[in-house]
């Protein structure tokens, strides 16, 4: 058996154990114990939802505030941003080498032409800051519109 299939098996094992430990090892065990020892005796009063000692007034699944959706939409904006940043951060260090080739970059370092090198190195940061500026404009707009107020 090769290494990659062992590793795949291991991660599968981790996921399976993650679900099996609470499901089988704990909840099922507790169920079996309470059925076997006979202390599972539900009744209407005991099963009532708890509302500080009062009898529950209406449906529990009430309509909730629209603000939660607002935050969720804003969150998606930033979450996607982070997903775009990750490939950028893995690629940014190789931009000078991709543009002029590794030999030319080494030659620039060897001859001490740091200003030339910095011009190439700045391409990645400038790209990502343009991307972030667009996002920040979005955040500022939401802020000004009052989407971040929880009144």
């Amino acid at each position: 058996m090769d290494q990659s299939s062992l590793q795949l098996g291991q991660i599968f094992l981790f996921v399976a154990v993650g679900f099996a430990l609470p499901a089988l090892g704990m909840i099922l065990l507790a169920w079996v114990l309470q059925l076997a020892l006979g202390y599972h005796r539900p009744n209407a009063i005991k099963n009532q939802p708890y509302e500080c000692g009062m009898k529950p007034m209406q449906e529990a699944l009430v309509q909730f505030d629209v603000r939660y959706y607002l935050y969720a939409i804003l969150f998606i904006l930033f979450d996607i941003e982070i997903i775009f940043i990750i490939p950028w951060l893995l690629a940014t260090d190789s931009i000078p080498r991709l543009l002029i080739g590794p030999d030319a970059v080494n030659q620039l370092i060897a001859t001490g032409q740091m200003a030339e090198l910095m011009k190439l190195k700045m391409i990645g940061p400038i790209e990502i800051s343009m991307f972030l500026v667009i996002l920040v404009v979005g955040l500022v707009y939401a802020w000004k519109k009052g989407a971040l107020e929880w009144e």
Partner: protein
């Protein structure tokens, strides 16, 4: 400072006894399954045992985690209660066993034997599945961390994912679903509000949290947690907490490289020194942002709005009793442990000794001690102790539990936020701050050669 000095001694004793107990048990299980049994099988069967051995070694970390999680949570609950009692000048649990040492073990038995109540009108399937889904990510989310905190022990096959921290974060986003599920399925208004609050809070604080980790990944140039740990080796100046490798040049200079090492790392002269200073400040802010975001992600005080007992009874777990409640509890403490491990690996150098090797190796006695351990029978024949990873593991344990106790200290000293303050703090303060730090790091790192 403390009015009950005796308590400090008792807490230290309790911590040492429990930690020694936990890690001896876990290590004995690992050793028996992953080292002793394969050695025995190879002796008896020869080459035929190769496949079995591989499978045993791959299964060892999983079994170790199974053993570790319950006893670790017991210890963490106990230390939290004792430490809170110390800081609020009360008596902690002190009845069950010597000094209350077995209090949480007794609690676990009690929770296992409690009746399991499903309230009227609740969605029984969702109600049962929510704690399972809450718990599962804390097991498989920790997979890449495991490779980093065990320092690549040569005798185990611990999975190392190249996506590392990304996988941890993806798994860390799952419990939110479980909390909303628990709140929705309970047929209780308090639970519903608690679940929704936890969702709103978790998604708000996830952005600064992820951005601060991304900043560290940017400094490291990789997402692989093992590589990030390896880069930070060599003393406190190399840790990501202090500039993410911006001080590596200084470290090399102190190690004997002199002015030449400084000139290599800080190749632009004064601009580079300024940028290195900016990086140090930025990464310390990042560390603080991560701690704040992590506190909010795992619903700890001061961000425990979802289970604010003064307003929402107990939030999303109001209707849970017995073992299902215990699983929520267990997963919460496991998450605290995982968050501390991420902090240790990403910022505090993993298993790295804060004293750099060029000082450490000059202290008389230390190289001889390591050599003596390496040559001993336990180490060379039985492989009970591996000198490459033994001290590193001790450092990991010290750092992780230090952060856990720091989280307890926060809980003991800070009041709870109000929900509008919480959202305003997250969106109007932390997110802009994390974006600014990110931009500073993006530009400043180009002027310094880091981790070189």
């Amino acid at each position: 400072m403390f009015s009950n000095g005796d308590e400090i001694f008792k807490i230290s004793r309790l911590t040492i006894v429990w930690l020694a107990g936990i890690f001896t048990i876990v290590w004995m299980v690992c050793w028996a399954l992953g080292i002793a049994l394969p050695m025995l099988l190879t002796q008896q069967l020869g080459d035929k045992a190769a496949l079995t051995n591989e499978i045993l070694r791959a299964a060892t970390p999983v079994i170790a985690i199974l053993v570790f999680i319950p006893i670790n949570a017991m210890f963490m609950v106990l230390i939290e209660r004792r430490a809170l009692a110390l800081w609020t000048v009360r008596k902690g649990p002190n009845r069950v066993g010597p000094d209350g040492n077995f209090q949480t073990a007794a609690d676990a038995v009690k929770l296992l034997l409690k009746e399991d109540i499903t309230p009227t009108g609740a969605d029984a399937v969702m109600h049962t599945f929510a704690p399972i889904l809450f718990f599962a990510p804390s097991v498989f989310g920790a997979v890449p961390l495991l490779a980093a905190v065990t320092n690549n022990h040569p005798l185990f096959r611990v999975l190392n994912l190249p996506t590392g921290i990304f996988f941890v974060l993806a798994a860390g986003a799952l419990p939110v679903v479980a909390l909303v599920m628990a709140g929705w399925a309970s047929n209780n208004k308090y639970s519903l509000v608690g679940g929704l609050r936890s969702a709103a809070q978790a998604i708000s604080y996830e952005i600064p949290l992820v951005l601060s980790l991304i900043t560290v990944c940017l400094m490291a140039g990789t997402l692989d947690l093992v590589k990030i740990t390896e880069q930070q080796a060599g003393g406190i100046l190399n840790w990501n907490l202090l500039g993410g490798g911006a001080l590596t040049g200084l470290n090399n200079a102190l190690a004997g490289g002199g002015a030449k090492a400084l000139a290599t790392s800080y190749f632009m002269g004064p601009i580079s020194y300024v940028c290195a200073g900016l990086l140090v400040i930025s990464l310390i802010i990042s560390f603080w942002l991560y701690l704040t975001g992590a506190c909010a992600e795992i619903n700890r005080i001061p961000f425990d709005l979802p289970e604010a007992e003064s307003e929402l009874v107990s939030g999303y777990n109001t209707e849970y009793s017995g073992m299902k409640f215990a699983i929520f509890f267990l997963a919460e403490f496991t998450n605290l442990f995982i968050v501390s491990s991420i902090t240790t690996v990403m910022f505090l150098g993993g298993g790295d000794n804060p004293i750099p090797p060029y000082i450490l190796n000059n202290i008389p006695g230390i190289p001889q001690m390591v050599a003596a351990i390496r040559d001993s029978y336990f180490c060379s024949t039985l492989h009970i102790i591996n000198p490459e990873t033994f001290f590193a593991t001790l450092w990991v344990i010290a750092k992780v539990y230090g952060l856990v106790i720091f989280a307890v200290l926060i809980r003991g000293t800070l009041p709870r936020f109000r929900i509008d303050q919480l959202m305003a703090f997250g969106w109007k303060r932390l997110i802009p701050l994390s974006l600014i730090v990110f931009i500073i790091v993006v530009f400043a790192r180009e002027f310094v050669i880091c981790h070189g």
